[in-house]
């Protein structure tokens, strides 16, 4: 995320002495920034801004210091000023967009990155970020268009195929989404998440055997991929391979004990072999993680009923009746984490 998008060049010149004290503070800040001492530069920028907020480029350079420190919210405020001072500044526009990106304001980021991309339509890194912003702000048609543009520049880009696949999946165009993930795997068989994404698409279409192959391929590269382990196990349950499933579920839960689907599936396996207490415990754990998902309530209710605990079962069934099935969030679309970078 940092500086990969464009070469962030600090203001090359020293400020003139129209307001000597302000210029002095600004130049001191700039000197420190050039040495990478952004924390130390900030008090000087702040002082300069107080003395003369009209110093040309001051907001931009001050914002850049915050940006370098990943303080995107502070940076965004300064870049907002900078873009007002110079609406045609490509650099200010990109930095503002990327600051919004850093604080997950993807819809706002898309507006500024779009304006910047109009100045540099062939800047593929910029268009990639723009496309991501469209995806993560739910603007699927625009995202689709951007990713398709990027594929004209690099038809073999696995990440772009994968992101386009995510867009298409979000737009419920499963067949096309699957085709994109297949293209991603073909373009780069070891691209992280590509096999998982394709496996997930197969899993959604209940092509469980095909899904298993993809999850296994992902796990060959990333043995601790908890989602691949969980979905592999789920696909195995549907295919009747219960032994393999349990092993994968236990591995996943050892890595992350908060995977709802893993607890649910483990409960199903345990219930099937009449290990009722352990099964109930797993269903309750699944409910603890997501109490609003009806399936664990339903499974638990049926288990309790089979154990003759009718009253407790009816409590669970009553909860199911209250809960309309929510659409499971896709594990594919992941907005960036706190560090500003998406997982892939």
């Amino acid at each position: 995320m940092k500086s990969a998008l464009l070469l962030l060049v600090l203001a090359a010149r020293l400020w003139p002495a129209t307001n000597p004290r302000a210029a002095e503070e600004a130049n001191a800040a700039l000197a420190l920034a050039h040495e990478g001492k952004y924390e130390q530069a900030i008090p000087h920028y702040r002082a300069a801004l107080k003395l003369d907020p009209t110093l040309p480029g001051l907001h931009l350079n001050f914002g850049l210091a915050y940006f370098k420190l990943n303080r995107f919210a502070d940076a965004a405020l300064l870049f907002e000023h900078a873009t007002k001072e110079d609406p045609t500044s490509f650099q200010a526009r990109v930095l503002l967009g990327m600051s919004y990106y850093g604080i997950r304001r993807f819809a706002d980021a898309a507006v500024d990155l779009k304006r910047a991309s109009e100045q540099q339509p062939d800047n593929t890194e910029l268009r990639f970020k723009l496309a991501q912003c469209y995806l993560w702000s739910g603007q699927y048609e625009a995202a689709k268009s951007e990713f398709k543009f990027l594929l004209t520049k690099d038809p073999d880009s696995a990440p772009v195929h994968m992101l386009l696949g995510e867009v298409l999946d979000a737009a419920k165009q499963e067949e096309q989404a699957t085709a994109e993930f297949e293209a991603a795997v073909k373009a780069s068989a070891h691209e992280p998440e590509a096999h998982f994404g394709l496996g997930y698409m197969y899993w959604k279409q209940k092509r469980y055997e095909d899904a298993q192959h993809q999850f296994e391929a992902e796990l060959a590269d990333q043995p601790q991929h908890t989602q691949a382990l969980t979905y592999l196990a789920d696909a195995e349950i549907h295919s009747g391979n219960e032994k393999g499933s349990e092993e994968h579920l236990r591995q996943a839960l050892e890595l992350d004990p908060n995977i709802r689907l893993a607890h649910l599936d483990l409960g199903i396996l345990l219930a099937a072999r009449n290990d009722s207490d352990q099964a109930a415990a797993q269903f309750r754990e699944a409910i603890r993680i997501d109490p609003k998902n009806p399936d664990a309530h339903y499974r638990l209710g049926r288990l309790l009923l089979a154990l003759g605990r009718e009253q407790e079962a009816n409590v669970e069934f009553a909860k199911v009746k209250e809960l309309a099935k929510r659409e499971e969030p896709s594990p594919l679309i992941k907005a960036p984490g706190p560090d500003g970078d998406p997982p892939r």
């Binding site: 279409q205 209940k206 399936d295 049926r302 009923l305 309309a324």
Partner: protein
């Protein structure tokens, strides 16, 4: 050399497979009926739900006739044009169907949806209950080729005091108290009023049919037959009314073999209802307890039509219903212990049905091998404008029962792509041409109806049982029939309610495989009388009258 050798078995297999005809095959026959549901750009909900059909012998000439329900002007709910007429076609037994609607007096008046066949007055002539939007009709079969609308006389014309006029989708005749009179269970969909229905945008300026969540559920109804041509609404006192839903399909069977008929209702995007008949006029809703409220993963799916019959020949009625794409066509096996287990995955149905949208499932033995297959009319609920996202128009499919609760999907292989894909709706099954093979009639929105004549290869034998109740209701609805041929038993029961909004009211059909006779036919009548026929020759319709005791 080695490579050439290894290819040989494959080549042999290919050569053989090209000569093996598909085990179930249909050929298309047209019939002069087109389902008109008054489709408008506003996409009012009933427009996409029409299409119930019945196969029954209206004049007791031994030939199965066809009755189609039809829509109406959606704004007025009146049949403002002859194109909306319900239609009755008389079968001459030679494959010719003559429109006798006018003489029969069955053109109808409102926006009709479903049809239930049953001889409610035990006079030997099958009557029709036609379910519709804000108006149902009971037509008494006069036995002379005409019908009389007796809705008001029967007391079936009253709007609900709480919900107002209801939108009924289908119905089932079933003797819930074994008094020898069939009672009427009416499936109601959801609360709909064109004056208050909010349009659902599918794009700028375009609309599509709304998700059921935008409408309130309504209760189903149970009317007890008083035996004098009138009915008494016992929905509340029986416990049925306490469970409103968005009913789409109804199947009736005695799932726990306690001698009382139970009722299963599929609901659209809501949990299903299983009304367990406790006797003494009471029903208990036990879908959760029995494990059929939802699919195993607790999905609230679009439950459509249903059939409720023994699929695995263990004597316990199982449940097959259908839904939209990604929701599968769920199969529930009766465990024989008062509950059901979903077997959709292990049956192969997951793989086959994941991309399909179904409306009307009917369980019947189409290849006469002794296992009931599943015919499903397919098509999406959404309008044609939705087609960019999913196939809205689809061909029908038949799922061949391989035994052991395993199925094989046949679509093109069964000849069912001989017609273009459509938004199919209702379906009815019966042997229309007396060749011992079950045929299918299917309807489709804004399209001609389809007759699918069963042209399956092979020379498997069959037998049909046409029951006549004496102490039990005349149709024998609820009677359980066990047929033993070649040492193997199979079961069915008399219930005309099958599929979506439709009735299949021909004799009860059994495929016998290579057996040219049946060792035993055992009939357990609703009266409790058990009747046995021994050493019955195959390939015929056996008429069985209930003995006095």
């Amino acid at each position: 050399m080695k490579r050439a050798f290894s290819l040989l078995p494959v080549l042999v297999w290919l050569a053989l497979s090209q000569n093996v005809p598909p085990p179930i095959r249909f050929v298309y026959r047209p019939i002069d009926f087109r389902l008109e549901s008054s489709e408008t750009p506003q996409r009012h909900a009933p427009e996409t739900m029409a299409g119930g059909v019945a196969i029954f012998d209206y004049n007791n000439d031994g030939n199965l006739d066809i009755f189609f329900t039809n829509g109406a002007d959606i704004r007025t709910l009146e049949k403002s044009s002859s194109k909306y007429s319900d239609r009755l076609f008389e079968n001459d037994g030679k494959g010719n169907f003559k429109d006798v609607t006018a003489k029969a007096g069955l053109a109808g008046a409102g926006f009709d949806m479903g049809v239930a066949v049953g001889d409610y007055d035990n006079d030997g002539y099958k009557d029709l209950f036609v379910a519709g939007v804000h108006g149902n009709h009971l037509y008494h079969n006069n036995g002379d080729g005409t019908f009389t609308d007796v809705t008001a006389k029967a007391g079936l014309n009253k709007p609900d005091s709480q919900y107002g006029p209801l939108w009924s989708v289908g119905a089932a005749w079933v003797d819930v108290n074994n008094d020898g009179l069939v009672d009427l269970f009416v499936v109601n969909y959801l609360a709909w009023d064109i004056r208050t229905e909010q349009p659902c945008e599918s794009g700028p300026g375009t609309f599509d049919y709304c998700h059921p969540k935008f409408y309130k559920p309504t209760p189903n109804q149970l009317f007890l037959n008083n035996g004098d041509g009138t009915f008494r609404d016992v929905s509340a006192e029986s416990g049925i009314r306490a469970h409103p839903g968005k009913g789409m399909g109804v199947g009736v069977a005695d799932y726990d073999l306690d001698g009382l008929m139970d009722i299963f209702v599929t609901n659209d995007k809501q949990y299903n209802s299983l009304f367990h008949n406790k006797g003494n006029g009471k029903f208990e809703e036990v879908a959760f307890e029995a494990g059929v409220a939802l699919t195993e993963d607790a999905q609230f799916i679009s439950g459509m039509g249903v059939d409720f019959r023994d699929i695995d020949n263990d004597g316990y009625p199982d449940i097959a219903f259908v839904a939209l794409e990604n929701e599968l066509f769920p199969l529930f096996r009766n465990t024989g212990k008062g509950g059901f287990m979903e077997v959709t995955d292990s049956s192969g149905m997951t793989r086959f049905s994941v991309a399909m949208a179904g409306y009307s499932p009917t369980l019947a033995d189409f290849d006469n091998d002794g296992w009931k297959d599943l015919f499903v009319t397919r098509g999406h609920v959404q309008s044609l404008g939705y087609a960019s996202r999913v196939p809205v128009e689809q061909p029908n499919s038949v799922f061949r029962n391989l035994g052991g609760m395993k199925f094989q999907a046949l679509t093109a292989e069964a000849g069912l792509t001989a017609q273009p894909p459509r938004r199919h709706r209702g379906s009815s099954v019966g042997d229309l041409n007396h060749d011992g093979r079950l045929d299918v009639v299917a309807t489709a929105i804004s399209a001609p109806a389809e007759i699918w004549i069963n042209d399956s290869p092979g020379s498997n034998h069959w037998i049909e049982c046409q029951l006549e109740g004496a102490k039990s209701n005349r149709d024998g609805i609820g009677a359980r029939i066990k047929v033993v041929a070649g040492g193997k038993a199979q079961y069915n029961h008399v219930s005309f309610a099958a599929g979506y909004a439709s009735s299949s009211a021909g004799p009860v059909h059994f495929g016998l495989g290579s057996n040219q006779s049946v060792e035993v036919v055992e009939i357990r009548w609703p009266s409790g009388i058990v009747q046995e026929l021994k050493d019955v020759a195959a390939d015929r319709v056996v008429k069985v009258k209930e003995p006095a005791n």
